[in-house]
Every structure is written in structure tokens, then in C-alpha cells.
Amino acid sequence: MSIRIENVTRVFGDFPAVRNLTLEIEAGELLALLGPSGSGKTTLLRMIAGLDFPDSGRILLDGEDATGLGAGERRIGFVFQHYALFRHMTVRDNVDFGLRVMPRAARPSRAERQAWVMELLERVGLAHLAGRFPAQLSGGQRQRVALARALAIRPRVLLLDEPFGALDAAVRKDLRRWLRNLHVEVPVTTVFVTHDQEEALDVANRVVVMNAGRIEQVGEPREVDAAPASPFMYRFLGHANRLSVEVVGDGVRLGNRLIDAARVDIAPGVPEGPAEAYVRAHEVVLVPPSDPRADMTARLVHSMARGGLLRLEFVGADGELFEAEIPREDCEDLALARDEIVGLHLRRMHIFPKGHG
């Protein structure tokens, strides 16, 4: 089912959680709402579910206005961050709940219900725990029960609020893969909220990044990661360095070095004069300090090996922190030591107006 969110605003007291937001979600999509806490992503999700209502704007489900419909009338499966299982019911009864409360005319027979519940439990790999109570399950198992329960009503849309937020790293990774596979098997429109960019980029077909109640960027995971569209995006994705530069023609001046247009991409509407440059950690290349390619020099203060990569932290001439991420083998011939001065060559610089965001 497709979802259309039209100019939706939601204000709590005097805090605007969602501001005039418009978004189209296509049928069968696996979409991630990504953003820092307080960016309005959960509020938006709750409004799609009918657990909260917009102060203005409309929400259309399959082209029909559903703005005023309550949660129970939308047939939307919702998975809560803390599972929200009914602790006095067994796993089986939890999954069956949505069927049990159906109006008598629409409710499947007891045998049909039982078969469907067991099929779902089979699918989430918990059939052998059908008689247990939630308190007897691990976090990952509880979350899968919550998913099975949401799927039991054959929802038109599946919504997940920080579904893996309360789980430890290994379980989280498993469940991520599992959710991806599930979406292939059951291609129901799925929207999930997360503040973990890796999770969003890993699982979703499309990522919507939110900031302060608005959409900051929409795109496929690869796109969003490859071409962040704003300073916020650089800061949010992390491992980006901010530098003060001066726009001169179609190049920039960094300190007393001129960097030509080939290595610089200037956002539309940046005037000549002082501006901000963002350089991502993997766009930094280490060179000897005297090398002509060195755009700046810095002192190494910390290094961390992570797989095939080395994360390095430098302090620049003005005391600002600078981050670089380079393949390990590149570093071995440089043989770096702490407090060594190195030259940094910036492969790419992304220029935005000064003081923006």
C-alpha cells in the first residue's frame, strides 16, 4: 500500500516535532526514517499508524484520506521499541491477539487462527516457544514475537519504531539481515525508524533523513552515503571534518593555498568569500609534510585500527581536530608515530555557506 504524507505538522506544546512535511512512500518499499533524537521521526511514524494525529495536513493511505482514522481502523502493524508484548499472555496468545479481537463476522475460525499463528511463529523461528511467556524470552526473541504479532493481522503497512534499539550488537545484526529477508518474502510496505545510520543504509531500499521536524535528504542508501546534500548530513553521517575556507572564483583558498575547482564542489548559492568546507575522513590522503600535494599539516594524536582501515586523529595548526580514514597498507610505508607531523591532501571538498545549520 502506498502512503502519502501531505504538509503534515505536529506541535507538542510549543515544540514543533514535525513541520510541514510532505513525503510519498510507494507500495512495497522498505523505507528508513533516519535522524537524531528529537528530529520528529517517531512522531511521523506514530501519525502514519494513527497513534498520533497531525495538527494540520493530511495522511493518505492508497490515495484515501486516513487522517482521521484511529489506529485500529487502519490495519497497520506497529512494532514498538520495547516490544510492548502482553506479559500475561503466552507467545501464541500474543500473536493471536489481533485475530481474537476481530469482529465476529470477519474473524477466522479457531483452527484457522491457530494454523496462521503457528505459521507466523515458524517464520520467525519461535514455534517451539509458543507456550512460553514473554518474560521467559530473550530480547531478540521478544522482538520477533512482536513482529509476528504485527504481521498476524495481515497489515497493509508494517511500521517499526527503533526495532533493534534495545538489543545488543550481534543480535541486532542478525535481526537486520532477517528483516531484509522477510521483506523479500512478505513484500509489505515497511517503514522503520532508526537513529543508527548504518542500520538504515544496510536495511532500507530508500532512506529519509530527518532533522528538526523536516526532511533533510531522501534517497537510496548508496546515494545518501555518497552525496550528502547539506552540512547537517555531513555532521550526522559522521567522520567529516569542517574547515573554514574562502571561495575564490570556482575554487577555494585554504589558509594560503589555492585549491582549484577540480577538487572542490560548491553547493548552489554559495557567495564568494568566507565559507565552510566539509571533508570526509576517507577523502583525506596522508603525504609527507613537505610534499607539494599537502594542503595542510597536522600532528597525529590518536590512531585506531579497524579491519582493513586505520582511523587517525590529528590536531591542526589552529588546534582543531581532524579525522582521516585510510587503508592500512598505505600507512605501513609511512610508519607513523604519535605526535608526528604529517601533510594532509584533501581529495574532495564540499563547500557550503558559512554558518548554515
Binding site: 494513527g50 489506529a71 485500529g72 521467559q136
Partner: protein, 278 residues
């Protein structure tokens, strides 16, 4: 080499504090119960049975049980409503109301009794309205129930309230998103969760009502066979220096209290069945 005591606890003086606590329990609870038992056994079985099954005694059981039952029914319904209101609604004066709930515990029961008599007496605010309708409260069985209800109000409220507060909003939202209508959410989700606390609170209220003395004697009228409660009969026997008879009757109340305690605990164990983690 110093030996390390592996049984060391965070707080020092475990042995001493346990000893003091047990001594206290022995002096305050266990010894008096034993003394009562001894008093009772001095009667012999026949005399004991005659005393506790005498017509007057049986009449007091009937009066006490029916009044306590009525008071408990009333408090169960009202207490549940009150707990719901205190947890679910935010209104000015809520904290004051919340504090008022404990008043029947804090107030001397004699004060409660006198107040109720003044209100429900023939010339009191309520009494003057109810008597013309033929409803007699003061000096009637109904008055006993009113006095019992007053002193046991807090039990149901104070047991249900924390459980109700504990039900996270997302539990209800989950039920709602799965299509449950409000009465189904209450019936299938909320009610089963608060039922054990509700039953335990009601049982405690009933137990308290069975033994209520101070508030009841002022309003009951205390006519043998009509408005005489068991605890009053015990007092009367004591007044006549008939200690064994008083002890015999008291043992009836004691057994009733133990049975109720057992019921309450069984309810709690049953309620916790889904919290097992094995």
C-alpha cells in the same frame, strides 16, 4: 596471613540485625498468639466448641461477615474507580485527593466512628435525609458496613494503583493498533494485569473489616443478635473477666485472618506465574 571472610555482606552487623528483628517478631506477634492458644486450650474442646457455636456468637459472625462483605463489595468497585481516576487523569487537586486516600489509615478509628454517627444519626446531615426514606444506617447493620467501608477504603486503591501505573502506554497502543476496541483493551489487556492486585486488595479490605472495632461500636448500636460484631463480643467477654471465652472467640477471628492471608498469597503466586523466567 589474614583470612578473607567470603560471606561478608554489604551491610555490617547482619547477625545482630537479624537477631533484633526476630526477637521483635517473637515478642510482638508470636508470644501473644501462643498465650492466646494456651488460654483457649485451658477450656477443653467441648467448652471451646460450645462457646464459639453459641447462638450469640454465631449471630455475631453473621453480622460481621455480611457487613464486611457489603463493605468490601462497595470498596472493590469504588476503590478500582478511584485508582483509575488517580492514575489516568490529571486534574487540579489530584495530589490532594491522593493524599486523602490514606486518611482512614491515619485517623483514629474512634474519631471515624463518632463522625459517622453524627452524620448518619437521625438528626445528622445524611441521617435526616435517609431516615424519612426508611433507610436506617446508624444503630443498624448498614451502619456497621459503612464504618467498615470507611476504614478499609485504602486497601484496594493502594494495591491497584501501582500496578495500573506500571502498565506502559505502548501496551495499550499495541492493542489499539491490532484493532482492539476500548472494551477489549480493558477486558483482555488491562483487567488481567490488575486482577491479582485487585483481588489481593479486596481480600485485605475484607480481613480488615472483619476485625474492625473502634469505628463500628459507635455506630452499631451493639444489640446482641442484631448489631453485635464478633470483636465486640470478645470485648464483652473480656470485660466479664472470662478470658478463656474471649480467647476462644478471638481464635475464630485469627483463623479467619490466616485463611485470608493464605488466599492473598495464593493470588500473588498465581499472578506471578507469567513472570517465571525458567
Amino acid at each position: 596471613m589474614t583470612r578473607i571472610d567470603r560471606r561478608r555482606r554489604v551491610l555490617p552487623g547482619f547477625g545482630l540485625s537479624l537477631g533484633v528483628a526476630l526477637t521483635y517478631v517473637a515478642i510482638i506477634i508470636i508470644l501473644p498468639l501462643i498465650a492466646m492458644g494456651i488460654q483457649t486450650t485451658s477450656l477443653g474442646w467441648d467448652a471451646f466448641w460450645r462457646i464459639i457455636t453459641s447462638d450469640r456468637a454465631v449471630a455475631t459472625y453473621r453480622v460481621t461477615l455480611s457487613a464486611a462483605g457489603l463493605a468490601t463489595l462497595f470498596n472493590a468497585g469504588f476503590g478500582l474507580l478511584m485508582a483509575w481516576v488517580l492514575v489516568r487523569y490529571r486534574f487540579p487537586g489530584r495530589r490532594l485527593l491522593d493524599a486523602l486516600v490514606d486518611l482512614p489509615f491515619a485517623l483514629p478509628t474512634a474519631v471515624a466512628g463518632i463522625t459517622l454517627v453524627t452524620l448518619f444519626g437521625p438528626n445528622g446531615w445524611y441521617g435526616s435525609l435517609l431516615e424519612p426514606l426508611g433507610i436506617k444506617v446508624a444503630y443498624a447493620p448498614l451502619g456497621i458496613a459503612v464504618a467498615m467501608a470507611f476504614t478499609s477504603i485504602p486497601f484496594v486503591i493502594r494495591t491497584v494503583q501501582p500496578v495500573l501505573e506500571d502498565i506502559a502506554p505502548d501496551i495499550e497502543e499495541a492493542a489499539r493498533s491490532l484493532g482492539a476496541r476500548p472494551w477489549q483493551i480493558f477486558g483482555y489487556v488491562i483487567w488481567p494485569l490488575i486482577l491479582p492486585a485487585f483481588l489481593a486488595g479486596s481480600t485485605l479490605a475484607f480481613a480488615r473489616s472483619l476485625g474492625e472495632f473502634g469505628a463500628v461500636i459507635f455506630i452499631a448500636g451493639n444489640l446482641p443478635f442484631q448489631t453485635e460484631v464478633t470483636s465486640l463480643l470478645i470485648y464483652i467477654r473480656l470485660d466479664e473477666f472470662d478470658y478463656p471465652a474471649a480467647a476462644a472467640l478471638a481464635s475464630v477471628l485469627l483463623v479467619a485472618a490466616f485463611v485470608l492471608l493464605l488466599v492473598t498469597n495464593s493470588i500473588q503466586i498465581w499472578a506471578m506465574r507469567h513472570a517465571r523466567t525458567d
